[in-house]
Structures are given as C-alpha cells and as structure tokens.
C-alpha cells in the first residue's frame, strides 16, 4: 500500500468518524451520550494526526495524539462531574430540559 493511498483512506475514516461523532452530539439528548460522541470526535481528530504523522514519517502525529488523550481525559472527568451535578440538581440528563440559560 502506498503512503498516499493510506493517507486518503485514513483521512476518510477520520472524517466519517468525526461526522458520526458530530451527529451524535447534535442528535443525542442524553448528556452521557453527548460526552461519548465528543470522545468519538476527539478520536477522529487524533486518528487524522496519526495518519498524517505516518505519511511524512514524523513522530509529531503520535505525540499530538498523546496530548489529545490528556485533553480528552480531563474533558471526560469534567464532563462526568457536570453530568453528576446536573443529575443531582435537575433530576434529569436531558440537555433540552436543562435550558435555564434561555434569554
């Protein structure tokens, strides 16, 4: 398999993953599922980095993925804490019902 072809496939896979995640974020109303969809989007971005690093034979892609892992980790920690608080406070995880900030 040539480098260019693997890059194309890898980027297409990443795009599909990203769009799936985005659709999940937009469609899902449960906060837990929204967080999971966000994870998918992060991983899609990470995949794109790794594929690109593979193409140019550079380690930067993998290093970037490590950073993304750290960011995702903290994001999940925060997100789950928020989800717990929301559940505690509003009694629901439905994001459409948690809309007290309406102008």
């Amino acid at each position: 398999m040539t480098g260019t072809a693997s890059l194309q496939f890898g980027l297409m896979l990443a795009t599909v993953l990203f769009l799936l995640g985005l659709i999940g974020v937009l469609m899902r109303r449960n906060l837990i599922f929204v967080l999971m969809s966000l994870e998918i989007m992060f991983n899609a971005a990470g995949l794109a980095f790794v594929v690109a690093g593979q193409r140019w034979q550079q380690a930067d892609g993998q290093i970037m993925f490590l950073f993304i892992l750290a960011v995702t980790g903290s994001e999940v920690a925060l997100g789950l804490a928020l989800a717990l608080a929301a559940r505690h406070h509003f009694g629901t995880l439905d994001t459409d019902l948690i809309s007290r900030m309406r102008g």
């Binding site: 985005l22 974020v25 937009l26 929204v34 994001t95 809309s99 900030m101 309406r102 102008g103």
Partner: protein, 624 residues
C-alpha cells in the same frame, strides 16, 4: 477714609442672614429690634459718613474692600463709592427704610411670617444700598438683581394666594426683560471700554466715543432698557399695579420710595453715556412724558387705593425720567428725594386705613373716615398735597417746579405733558382724599393703629412739607442742587435746567394744580352726581374702561407674547428633541429582544451553531 462705608450695606445684609437662619426661633420683639435696628444703624452710619463728607472736599471717595475676581481685563472690586448722588440715595434708602420698618413692626404684628418679612426687607435694604454705593457696574448689577429678587419675594409674601404669586411672577419676568438689556449693555461697555468702574468708564467713554456715535447710542439705549424695566416705565410698566399684592409697607418701600427709582439712579449715575447719545436722552424724556400721562389717566379710574398709588408712582417716576431726559439731573434726583417721602407717606397712611377697615381696598366703598382716622387723614392729606404739588407749602411743589422749568427750557412739548400731568395728578390725588375721608361714612372701622405706626407717619409728613426747603434758592441755586453739582461736574447742561421758563409761565403749573384740586372737589365732594352722570356717557365709559385696564397693555402683551408662547409650549408638549433619544432607546431595545431570541438555552443548538460557523469559516478559507 474716616467712616466704614462698607458697613452701611453690610449691616442690613447681616441682619437678614441672622433673621433668615434663626428668625423663627426668636421672640417677635427681638426680631423687630434686629430688623429695624440694622437699618436704623445703617442710617446713623450714613449720617456719619455724610457729615464727614459734607465737611470735607465734596470729592467722590472710593473705598475698596477687596478684588472680587480677576479675569484678564475684568478686575472688578467690591468697592463702594461715595459722592453727593450716592449719599442722597443712601440717605433716602436708609432713612425711609428705617421708618417703614418701624411702621411694619406694628403693622405686620399679627402676621405669621414676621421674621421672614424682616429678613426679606433687610435683604432688600442691603441690596439697594449695594446698588447705590457700588463703585463698578458689576457690583451695581449684583444689587440690581438683589432688589429684583426681594421685590419678587415680597410681592408674593402671602404666597398662599394664587393671585399674589402670579403678581410676583409677573413682576419678576417683566423686570427680567429690562435686566437682560442692562446686562447686555454692561457687556457692551466692558468690551468697548475695557472697564466697568463707573467713574473711569465715563471718562473713557467721553474720550473714545464722539457725541452721537452708534456705540454710545447702543450702550445708552440698553441702559435705558434696564431702567425702564426696573422703574416701571413704558413699555415695561405693567408689573407695578399688580405688585400691590404685597404687604403695604413693601409697596411703600420697594414699589414707591426706592426700588422703582433705581432706574432713575442708574441713568443719573451714567449720565455721561447718555449725554453722548442725545437721541437716547431725548427718548428718555419721551418715555417719561408718555408714562406720566398714561399712568395719570389710569390713576384717575382705579378704585383700589393701592393701585391708584401705584399708577401715581409710575407717573411720578415718569416726571423723573422727563427731567433726566432734558438734562436736569439734579431736578430728577430732587424729585426722587421728595417723592420718596410723600409717596411712602401716602402708602403708610393708606395702609392704616386699609388695615383699619380689614383689608378693604375699594375707595368707592369708603367715605367720611376723617374722624375715625384723624392721624391717617392729616398725614394722607399732606402726602396728597405734596404729590399734587400744592404751591409753596409742600415739598412736591419745589421738585416738580424744577422739573417743569427744565422741561420748558428744553422742549415745550415735554413741558406741556408735564403741565397736563400736574393737573391730572392733582385730580386723582384729591379724588382719593375726598372719596376716602369725606362724604358719607359707609364703613365702620374695626381696629386702630398703635403708637409705633404714628411715629413714621408724623416724621414723613413733616418731611413731605419741609424737604422742599432744602433746595430754596440761595443766590441762584438751591443747596441741594449745589450739593449734587459734585456728581454732575462734567455736565454743562445741568445749568440750563434751572429757571428756563418766564415768570408768567411759572404760574401755569400752579394754576393747573389748583384747577385739578377744584375739579376733584367739584366732582367728588360738592356734586358727586356729576361724576356719576359723566360716567354714564358711552364714550366716557369706554375711555374709563380703557384707562382702568392701564391702556390695554396687559391685553396686548398677553396676545403678543404670552399666548403664542403658551401655544408653542402646548404644541411641543411631547418635546420633539426628546423624540430622537426615546427613538434611539426603542431601537436598542428591539435589537436586544431580537438577539436574545438566539439564546435558547439548549446545548445542542449551540453546538450546531458552532459547527455551522466552523463550516462557513472553512468554506471561506478554502473557496476564497
């Protein structure tokens, strides 16, 4: 300087401050002592300063207290200037003021606003003295506005009645017109001559401005505007009859003896400027002549005792302006001097009658009161005699005679106006006397005045008789005129003022006065029927009505100024300038509502917006 000149205005001002701050907590006796005492003390000081002055060189003396402000060329000081003119004015203000305050101490005894009254009256006396003694025009203007304020406060003294408040408002607004003219005149003089110091500016004016130059004419005309407003002369005269709404002592002091003569003082003080503008000086005489006739006619028809006196004041101030206009400065000031005595006397004795009849102002309802108020009757009679210039025995005769002589020397038309005015004056003066004190007794007097009010009446009555002898000719000129020479040194035209008319013509004013007395006696004493019959003729009735409303000036001004203004104000009730700002606010609020619609509170829609936004940005970057 031997005498502390600044104390003369300062004492009444301090008394006013004291009474204003603590007056309501002081017992009435103390209020009266402070109120009368301060003005009396400043009279004593004036007398002291006067005796020093008269025994000295008769030169004008300036006493500088401190520099008021320093603004480039504008360096006015708080400084007082004593010369014969300001000395005479000071003496009149403090002397008549003290007597009237003494009278008020009893006259106002039952009034709730006792301390307030004395506070305002002393403020007035202080402001008037500031005006009179001021060394520069700015300080004079301060006093000028001060007396205007006090006039407003005291006309509306009984402020619970709407009529009084309206009268006060009217007086303030109309004099304001004149004050504005005066202020513009001040600014003009300052920008052109670079000083407001009166003696200096008159010197500079006579050096810089040729006779009849347009600047001199403008300055003199603007000063005349101020004088006309303050002195209730044509065309700003309409406030004075309404100003009678105030207490009687106020009318006596402010609207007869002192404040309304401030205009005369101003013109006399600035006489050099007027001499540089002969047209305006002629206008001064014209205004005086017109006002004296107009007011005398109106005085004939009034039934309110105080309004008769108000029109009479207007008419007499008209005489003073006439004298100023023909250049007889000292004659004008002499008439001011005697007028202060007899007119305040008339007001005070009239006040005794009015209060005795429980605020009855209508002279047609009075009658036969000479036995009930013997003192008021005699003093009123003396005042009326002096007002109508009964020859040789009254002060008014000497001063009016001097004016008429001077007028004859200048312009026969003015002399004739003065002559007719003398006839009318005598008719309306004795009309009052006969209607109030003679004939049938129709009203029962309710109360008598105390002894304290008698003192000012007697003193003023004496002066209304003897003040004229001050100016008895001693080898050509009287003592008073000779004294005033010191103030009008530069004027050559003061000389022809005296003794212009031939001896045969000098008899005419005397005949006019006596004829007026005879007419009044005939119509109001011997044959009251005739007066009634005269009143039924339609032409006379229309004329009577016309004169009664003061020649319709109120009507005219109401149509010309008040109503259009009220109409415009009503049109603009919503304030069209404001509409722009309310519109701005409305647009902002609408935009805010629109934007806040996008704030749904749903995380998903925010995420969508972020995604779409990113897409759009990407599209822009890629497809650019």
């Amino acid at each position: 300087m031997a005498s502390p000149l600044y104390l003369i205005p300062l004492l009444p001002l301090a008394a006013s401050l004291l009474l204003g701050l603590a007056g309501s907590r002081l017992p009435r006796v103390v209020v009266a002592i402070i109120g009368v005492g301060a003005t009396a003390a400043s009279f004593v000081l004036t007398a002291w300063a006067g005796s020093h002055f008269l025994s000295g060189s008769l030169q004008g003396q300036t006493q500088v207290l401190y520099r008021w402000l320093s603004l480039g060329e504008l360096q006015p000081s708080i400084a007082f200037y004593l010369d014969p003119l300001s000395l005479v004015m000071c003496a009149v203000v403090t002397f008549v003021g003290a007597l009237i305050l003494l009278y008020s101490a009893q006259f106002m005894a039952e009034d709730d606003g006792y301390a307030r009254f004395f506070c305002f009256m002393n403020l007035f006396v202080g402001s008037m003295l500031t005006l009179v003694l001021a060394d520069n025009l700015l300080l004079l203007y301060l006093g000028w506005e001060g007396v205007g304020l006090c006039s407003y406060l005291l006309i509306g003294f009984w402020y619970r009645e709407r009529r009084n408040v309206t009268a006060a408002f009217k007086a303030f607004l109309i004099t304001r017109v004149g004050d504005t003219a005066l202020l513009i005149g001040l600014l003009l003089i300052f920008t052109q001559l670079g000083t407001l110091q009166i003696q200096e500016l008159m010197q500079r004016a006579s050096l810089q401005w040729p006779v009849g130059s347009s600047l001199a004419v403008a300055a003199a005309a603007l000063l005349l505007g101020g004088a006309v407003g303050k002195s209730a002369q044509l065309p700003l005269q309409t406030w004075l009859p309404d100003a009678m709404a105030g207490p009687t002592p106020v009318s006596a002091l402010i609207h007869a003896a002192t404040m309304v003569t401030a205009g005369v003082y101003l013109i006399a003080r600035m006489h050099v400027v007027f001499e540089l503008a002969p047209i305006v000086q002629w206008l001064v005489a014209l205004v005086g002549a017109a006002t004296l006739l107009l007011a005398a006619c109106s005085a004939l028809t009034q039934w309110d005792l105080k309004r008769v006196l108000a029109y009479s004041t207007m008419s007499q101030v008209g005489y003073m302006l006439l004298a100023l206009g023909v250049g007889a400065w000292s004659a004008a000031i002499f008439h001011l001097f005697t007028h202060a005595f007899f007119k305040s006397l008339l007001f005070l004795s009239g006040g005794v009658v009015i209060q005795g009849l429980e605020e009855e102002h209508n002279i047609l309802k009075m009658g036969g009161l000479r036995r009930d108020f013997p003192l008021a009757f005699w003093t009123f009679l003396i005042g009326a005699a002096s007002l109508s210039a009964i020859p040789w025995v009254t002060a008014g005769f000497f001063s009016k005679d001097a004016i008429l002589n001077a007028a004859y020397g200048s312009n026969v038309g003015f002399w004739l106006a003065g002559l007719i005015g003398a006839l009318l004056t005598s008719v309306y003066a004795f009309r009052m006397v006969f209607l109030v004190f003679f004939g049938e007794r129709r009203l029962e007097p309710r109360r008598r005045q105390g002894l304290v009010t008698a003192v000012p009446l007697v003193v003023l009555a004496t002066l209304a008789v003897v003040a004229g002898y001050l100016n008895l000719p001693h080898g050509g000129t009287g003592a008073f005129t000779a004294l005033l020479r010191g103030s009008f040194l530069s004027t050559a035209s003061a000389a022809p003022g005296e003794g212009g008319a031939a001896a045969s013509l000098q008899v005419l004013p005397i005949i006019a006065t006596l004829a007026g007395l005879a007419i009044a006696a005939l119509l109001y004493l011997r044959q009251p029927r005739w007066a009634e019959n005269l009143g039924t003729a339609p032409a006379i009735r229309v004329l009577h009505r016309f004169w009664f409303v003061g020649w319709g000036f109120d009507w005219l001004y109401s149509r010309l100024f008040v109503r259009p203004w009220v109409y415009l104000a009503r049109l603009n009730r919503a304030d069209f300038v404001d509409a722009f700002y309310t519109g701005l606010a409305a647009v902002t609020i609408a935009l805010h509502r629109l934007l806040s619609l996008s704030q749904t509170g749903r995380v998903r829609s925010y995420a969508l917006a972020a995604a779409v936004g990113t897409l759009v940005l990407l599209a822009v970057v890629v497809l650019r």
